[in-house]
């Protein structure tokens, strides 16, 4: 069965600082990997996805993520955060068939001035 671990429940960074959110997955083959963002009272917005090919993927809002098979990781990065990036971030994995998404518990990002 597939699973996702997001080890950081809550991260606080200063506006303009760099950001890295950690995600580790468990799946027996090459997974489909996603990052979603959820602002308060809102739905889940897709930031980026990895299906195959280049292991460094670019997403919306200046985010990127790198798939590292050897570490079973798919960490999300942004070089300079903005106050509007404050939200909950979810890493998700799908297995063969790309149907059932399994989510991590999420990382809540707080931005301080």
């Amino acid at each position: 069965a597939q699973s996702v671990t997001q080890p950081d429940i809550h991260i606080t960074v200063s506006e303009g600082a760099s950001l890295e959110l950690r995600c580790n997955y468990s799946y027996g083959a090459t997974p489909y990997l996603f990052w979603y963002v959820q602002s308060p009272g809102q739905g889940l917005q897709l930031l980026l996805k990895y299906f195959s090919g280049d292991t460094l993927v670019q997403g919306i809002k200046g985010f990127e993520a790198e798939f590292k098979r050897s570490q079973s990781s798919f960490n999300l990065r942004k070089p300079s955060v903005h106050w509007s990036d404050a939200a909950e971030y979810f890493c998700a994995v799908a297995g063969f068939g790309n149907e059932k998404l399994t989510f991590g518990t999420g990382t809540r990002l707080t931005i301080i001035p």
């Binding site: 996603f34 979603y36 009272g41 809102q42 739905g43 889940l44 917005q45 897709l46 996805k49 299906f51 979810f90 998700a92 068939g97 790309n98 149907e99 059932k100 998404l101 399994t102 989510f103 991590g104 518990t105 999420g106």
Partner: protein
């Protein structure tokens, strides 16, 4: 940009009553999903639906739950006899204009279901 639309945004229901949550997926999508998020917990998969039938369901999706695509645009989740533990945010998602293997799921804003 096309969106997944869910109604209502908030539903309050007495325990034991039936509830129907409605979703309008993105118009040319072929795969449809329901997820739920109990307050403070992770988002959990409930069911996937394709070609007018369930393709996969989780252990949460028991006989109290059913899904339907009654027409060409709506996708519904019915809970027959609600329990207190059904209180959660329910998300609808859709994907796939043809090849689901390269299409991400797009989510609606959710329906918050409160069981009294």
């Amino acid at each position: 940009e096309p969106e997944v639309t869910q109604t209502p945004s908030h539903q309050v229901t007495q325990m034991g009553q039936e509830v129907i949550l409605r979703c309008v997926p993105i118009s040319n999508h072929l795969y449809f999903y329901w997820y739920r998020q109990i307050l403070g917990q992770k988002v959990e998969f409930l069911v996937s639906f394709y070609n007018n039938e369930i393709s996969e369901k989780s252990e949460i999706f028991d006989d109290q739950f059913s899904v339907e695509r009654p027409d060409g645009s709506n996708f519904t989740l019915k809970i027959r006899s609600t329990k207190l533990e059904d209180s959660a945010m329910y998300f609808c998602a859709s994907s796939g204009t043809g090849d689901k293997f390269n299409q991400p799921q797009h989510f609606g804003d959710g329906t918050r279901l409160s069981i009294l």
